[in-house]
Subunit: 454 residues, 2 copies
């Protein structure tokens, strides 16, 4: 189909798309929280039914974790088979009080849909599904299309990952389309050339068997709150910004000169970064540009510390326990398991005397990967994007992780293609997440054009 | 009155004492939490009525904060006037789930009363009031007795402190009896020879205007959780245990050789400290004994850190803000205001780039003080304690603060006398706080004997 008729189709369907999208967003499918188990299953069932109605053979594939939604529609044998990936689970919505409207009661304000998952990934996913619908209805989808939508992207993708090998035949494809990414800060169309991997862990430091009076014991009892601060506050060198964990950088693959140049070409300016986030680009390693740090270097972040009193006024205690949550982002060719082990060993080696370290939870979200700048598929995607936008297509090495992408590529034998329309303004993972109808429409047009150009 | 008849009186009254004590403990008079404002006032009113019934001219004295309960009963002109101090407010009860029975539903189990405030200070205070009652009823109280019970000891004593000057005439006395302290770890009768002062503050570090995705921004955005860890994790030197704040030790008054020897004589052994608290005596400055660190040296403790995610699983964010609560304990002749200013300056000087420090709350709980070992009053108290216990009376330089005591001593012109019967087992400020009937009875007997021996 041509761009003009696609635009007309979108115009005609838009009101219905929004109504259906709202339904999808109203499921609180928070995969990390067991309290939302039922909501995740309901969301999966809704998608199976929806995809069936698009003319796909759709079903729920059970895993050891949340089920995967899978749909398949055979095409012409001489056309490539496309595997499309998305996820129906979302991040937790807390802090709830920071939302303007409730996270699971989607509201359209000023051309943007506000809800948890509005962008990540239900918005991007649903725009693509609507494009597929338009092609099917216009009899314009001639390639084989397989749709796989998992329910644990935000919590480690373990269910899908452990089942992939079993589904190898079903998933076989030539191209793996992934729409869970964003654009460079200018908003220009963007092809993602790499993603980081990640590992995560929750640790606790225990000290006294009960909270102690900080007068009677101050200067005598070791303090887990202070101990945790020392421990996690020294995971990076304060001067260089380098991660202080031993062997952490040993396997890091440096970027080529071309990769480095293309990446730095789209480094947003400092002023707009500050305007978007409220902070300067001061984190990470001093010796690299902000773009290089995010795209080509591993990072380590404390996601939470909780210990002692947080109410009004003061409470003069030495708390009995302190907890911290930590994630590290990895680049090729770092091995997730080895990195996790190195971090844990570092924490053990630096645990303050008198306190006890416990690793409460740990996991790997897969390794990082980088794509090949010279691939014909990448060039075709660039041509499609050139039709939709006057601006030069950007090549971006993402800092985020879509852990299952590299496993999916490996199992399906497909070449990954990562194009998405998220922007910093969408505030994914944070309160007031949103996705604009303009972004939704671009995503729809790109997906339709790409599928028909193969 | 003689010891034998006092013991008889206690025996006869015990059942009623416990019933009344339960009533006092059932008020959730948490002064630091505005939600308990009404409970504090109700508790004060209950005490005014109770003290009136003992034959005192009692009233609520209003302050800028919680009211003070004041009662007075004139005695023989040739007898000394005694000012008795206690407090009716208590620490917050959280974490509630850690209590065996609810904190404000007092329960007597195995000879111990369990409730928030069971010891600190409602238990010790009420035992003394019952001793006074016995003396009044036995026509044996011949000295002038003034009772002052404040409602903000656990939150800075600001109301009483700001009103003291106004009440100078009313408070004039010769002896200031304070029953808000404990015994050495062996449980031997104990005279407190010093208390530490304290300052407290709540600080926050703000970074991004909203929680950021730790993949997209990890290595680029400064992380307030990590920044707070660095900031508060470096307030003490990890090797020496010394507080790293500039000028912090400048005014610290060293103990005399006699003070040091008497203090170290009652240093509990390491095994029982570990059994009581669950930790070794590893905190604080390496070059001092645990007893010296608590009695003669200042300390600094992190009472709480709260930032980011604390739910199940992981949440891959760079949190937007981190909060920490800090207290420092001070010894003579450290000036609280100067110490607070020095801590704040240190935090400001070490605030990581890209993050913003805010002091949300700060306050001083008065300076530390030390009493004179040669005083006749101290010797008289020792003689009374020798009657009650075969063991040698211990002299203890306490690590805790009763901030208002030094101000009260100064305004009233009275010599302080600090004898209390708290023990580590009572778990004050923690879940399952308790006070045994044996402790209650000793407190009763000591107060009665002391008042009649003057």
């Amino acid at each position: 189909m041509e761009l003009a008729s696609l635009k007309g189709a979108f115009e005609a369907g838009q009101r219905r798309y929004v109504a259906e999208w709202r339904q999808l967003l109203s499921f609180p499918s928070v995969s990390t929280d067991p309290a939302h188990e039922r909501d995740c299953l309901d969301c999966a069932d809704w998608l199976v039914e929806h995809i069936s109605r698009l003319g796909f053979n759709a079903q729920r594939l059970e895993t050891t974790g949340k089920p995967v939604v899978f749909g398949e529609r055979p095409g012409a044998p001489d056309k490539p088979a496309v595997l499309f990936y998305g996820h129906y689970d979302v991040q937790p919505a807390d802090p709830l009080e920071a939302w303007t409207t409730p996270p699971f009661e989607p509201q359209l304000r000023g051309g943007r849909m506000y809800a948890r998952g509005a962008q990540d990934n239900k918005g991007q996913l649903f725009a693509a599904l609507k494009a597929v619908e338009t092609l099917v209805e216009g009899d314009a989808l001639d390639c084989t299309l397989k749709i796989i939508i998992e329910g644990e992207e935000e919590s480690g993708s373990q269910g899908i990952s452990s089942a992939l090998e079993r589904w190898r035949e079903q998933l076989r494809a030539d191209i793996l389309m992934v729409g869970d990414t964003g654009t460079v800060s200018s908003g220009a169309p963007t092809i993602i050339m790499g993603l980081r991997g990640a590992v995560h862990l929750t640790v606790s430091l225990t000290g006294p068997t009960h909270d102690l009076h900080s007068g009677t014991h101050g200067g005598r009892a070791p303090n887990p709150a202070e101990g945790m601060a020392c421990l996690v506050g020294r995971l990076r060198d304060a001067t260089t910004g380098r991660i202080a964990v031993g062997k952490f950088y040993d396997q890091v693959r440096p970027p080529s000169r071309e990769e480095r140049e293309l990446a730095n070409a789209h480094d947003g300016d400092e002023a707009s970064y500050r305007a978007e986030t409220g902070v300067p680009s001061m984190g990470g390693e001093r010796e690299f540009t902000p773009t290089e740090r995010v795209g080509f270097r591993p990072s380590l972040d404390i996601n939470g510390i909780h210990t002692g009193y947080d109410g009004a006024g003061m409470k003069t205690i030495i708390p009995s326990v302190a907890r911290a949550k930590i994630t590290a982002r990895l680049v090729p060719d770092q091995d997730p398991a080895a990195c996790l082990a190195n971090i844990i060993r570092h924490l053990q080696d630096h645990t303050p005397e008198g306190l006890e370290l416990r690793v409460d939870e740990q996991g790997a979200l897969g390794p990082g990967f980088r794509l090949d700048l010279g691939s014909p598929l990448i060039r075709k995607a660039k041509a499609v994007l050139d039709q939709l936008d006057d601006r030069e297509t950007a090549f971006l090495w993402e800092g985020a992780s879509v852990p299952v992408v590299s496993s999916l590529a490996q199992v399906s034998g497909a070449e990954p293609l990562l194009v998405g329309f998220g922007s910093e303004q969408d505030r994914i993972h944070a309160p007031d997440e949103s996705f604009s109808l303009d972004q939704f429409s671009l995503d729809y047009l790109y997906t339709a054009l790409m599928l028909t150009s193969l």
